[in-house]
Every structure is written in structure tokens, then in C-alpha cells.
């Protein structure tokens, strides 16, 4: 166990952001919280620069798609405090019609490519990003392939047709 418990961490966060951060759970000891997109950069800045917490390492930025929810797309931040040996997961839910969130590349340069990947696969637009282009898929792609409505299998595939298998 690290020097900092999840309880202490949560107390510090809720003292600085009262009512703005909700706890989702603690699966496998990983504290998971939710917040709105208005406060996300403030929260990340606080976690990064606080002299006790020192969440100086941004492990990942990614997203998730739940089509049945009202706010379908969740942007997910994984932070790691190397000093305290504690990890933290932050989720921000966005409506599919308005996928704008401020970029975290102002705090971590490494967020640049993570946000490009999240844009490429989910279509989340990171406002203020220096170079928000596709990074993995072909440049002329118009869809966002990790969204649930996108067909995963390639329609050009011929050797998986049913009649080859007597179906």
C-alpha cells in the first residue's frame, strides 16, 4: 500500500472541489470519480501541482461508449502519483451531440497523442489541442470506429461468406 489512502485522497479532492466530484466506486482499490467537463482541467491541475498529492504522471486518456446512456461518451483519465504510489481514474460524461472538452495537453505534453487517438477512435473534440488530426486510421476516414454503431468486420471479406460453411 502507498503512503496515501484513497480516503485521504478523496477528502482532499472534495475539500477543494465541493460538490463537483462524485465517487463512482473503488474497483480493485482504484478510486474512480466523475466530474463535469467545466472543472476537469482545474481538477487535473490541482492533482498535478498539489505538494502532497503529486499526481505528476498521466497514464492514459481514453474514452468509452455506452449507447444506452443519456450522455453516451465518457472521457477517462488515468493519473498516477509516483511519489505516493496511488492511482486515480477520472471520468467525464459527454453528450454525443456536443463532444467538446478542453485539452489536457496544456498540463502534460504526453496528452497530445492520447487525445489524438481518442479523437480518432471516438470523435471527442479536445478544444485548444495544438494538432487534432487522426493518428491511427487512414486520414480520409470519416467514421469513428470504436463507437458501438460502427461495424467492426470488414465488408470486403469474401472467405467468411455463409455458403462456404453450408449455412
Amino acid at each position: 500500500m502507498g503512503k496515501l489512502t484513497n480516503e485521504e485522497l478523496l477528502n482532499k479532492i472534495s475539500a477543494n472541489f465541493p460538490g463537483l466530484v462524485n465517487v463512482v466506486g473503488e474497483p480493485f482499490g482504484l478510486l474512480t470519480v466523475e466530474t463535469g467537463r467545466e472543472k476537469i482541467i482545474d481538477l487535473l491541475y490541482y492533482l498535478q501541482t498539489d505538494p502532497v498529492l503529486e499526481f505528476i504522471y498521466l497514464t492514459d486518456i481514453t474514452a468509452i461508449h455506452y449507447p444506452e446512456q443519456e450522455k453516451q461518451i465518457g472521457v477517462i483519465y488515468h493519473l498516477h502519483s509516483l511519489v505516493n504510489n496511488v492511482r486515480l481514474r477520472i471520468k467525464v460524461w459527454l453528450s454525443i451531440d456536443d463532444l467538446h472538452i478542453h485539452t489536457a495537453s496544456v498540463l502534460w505534453s504526453g496528452a497530445n497523442w492520447m487525445e489524438r487517438e481518442t479523437y480518432d477512435l471516438f470523435g471527442v473534440i479536445f478544444d485548444g489541442h495544438p494538432d487534432l488530426r487522426r493518428i491511427l486510421n487512414v486520414d480520409d476516414m470519416t467514421a469513428f470506429p470504436m463507437r458501438k454503431e460502427f461495424p467492426l468486420e470488414d465488408p470486403n471479406r469474401v472467405d467468411k461468406k455463409d455458403y462456404f460453411f453450408g449455412r
Binding site: P145, D154, N156, R157, K160
Partner: protein, 180 residues
């Protein structure tokens, strides 16, 4: 006495001090026993190709030990591994840079059909972008299978006419891929 086997002379007219045959056959023998492959290796099939090149399997026995890493000097494009859709135009560019005569071998399930990667980001067989002469099945194919495919390429090369690029069938094939 050496046990090295030499290539048999082609069929022709033989007499005292002369031998006559067609230029096609001589060129076919010369080309097929000195193919310069360009290895386009992107994944595990490429590892099998490295084994094929090694002394144990020894692709040099077939005159193909001189790998060409420039497409301009290569005769045979060996595509070994998964080709993603983003890599497709690159592969096509490599093929376009090769001079005639040129042959293409798709090694392994991924290069032939996309393999297990039935997904939006992977090319479902390189024959979507360039014409292929020989397909080698396997995931990955053993070096023996790659050599078998190489011998099939050699047979193609031997039986081909001198200027394949002038044939209407070949031109039609290239035109179907949008290649001049």
C-alpha cells in the same frame, strides 16, 4: 566429384559446335534462377522468412540470396504479414516502383486474405490493391511452404513470354487495378 546440380539446358536444336533454342526459354532460365526478392515483412511471417533465408533452409539454393531492399532492382515482391489499410497505399507505391518483369507472392493468411484480422483497419488480402501471382497459405507458413511458393514463382517465370507487359491479358489485369 561435386554434387551440385546444374540447370538442364532447354529444348533446342543441337549440332556440332552449335546449339539453337528460343530466347524466351534462355531468359526464363536466367530469370528464374536469379530472382531478387524484396521482402516486405510486417509481422510473424517475416520471421519465418528469416528462417527461410538462414543456412538451414537456404533460399540461396534457388538463386534468391540477393535480397533487394530497393524496389527498383527487385523482381519479386514477397509480402509477409498483416497489411493495414493505412499501409495499403505504401505497398502499392512499392509495387509501382518495381520494374517489369515483376512478380508478387502473398505469404501467409494475412497477406492472402486478412487472416484472423477481419476488422475495419486491416486490408482483407493484398490482392485488393496489387495483383498477386502466388499465395502461400499458413499462419505462419513453415519455411518449406515459403520455398514451395518460391518454386511455384520460378515455374511461372520460366514459362512466361519474354515481354509479359505487352500481353493484352496482363495489361487488362493491371488496368483492373488502375495501374498503367
Amino acid at each position: 566429384m561435386s554434387d551440385i546440380q546444374l540447370v538442364d539446358a532447354p529444348a533446342g536444336v543441337e549440332g556440332a559446335g552449335f546449339f539453337a533454342t528460343s530466347l524466351d526459354k534462355v531468359m526464363g532460365i536466367a530469370r528464374s534462377n536469379s530472382l531478387w526478392p524484396l521482402p516486405f515483412a510486417t509481422s510473424c511471417c517475416g520471421i519465418e522468412f528469416m528462417a527461410t533465408m538462414s543456412p538451414h533452409y537456404d533460399l540461396a539454393r534457388f538463386g534468391a540470396e540477393r535480397l533487394s531492399f530497393s524496389p527498383r532492382q527487385a523482381d519479386l515482391l514477397m509480402v509477409m504479414g498483416t497489411i493495414s489499410k493505412k499501409m495499403g497505399p505504401v505497398l502499392r507505391q512499392v509495387y509501382l516502383q518495381m520494374a517489369e518483369p515483376r512478380w508478387v507472392m502473398a505469404v501467409g493468411a494475412c497477406a492472402s486474405s486478412g487472416g484472423i484480422f477481419d476488422t475495419y483497419s486491416v486490408l482483407q488480402g493484398i490482392d485488393e490493391v496489387i495483383p498477386v501471382d502466388v499465395y502461400v497459405p499458413g499462419c505462419p507458413p513453415r519455411p518449406e511452404a515459403i520455398i514451395d511458393g518460391f518454386i511455384a514463382i520460378q515455374k511461372l517465370v520460366q514459362t512466361e513470354t519474354l515481354r509479359r507487359r505487352n500481353e493484352p491479358g496482363y495489361q487488362k489485369l493491371l488496368a483492373s487495378y488502375g495501374i498503367q
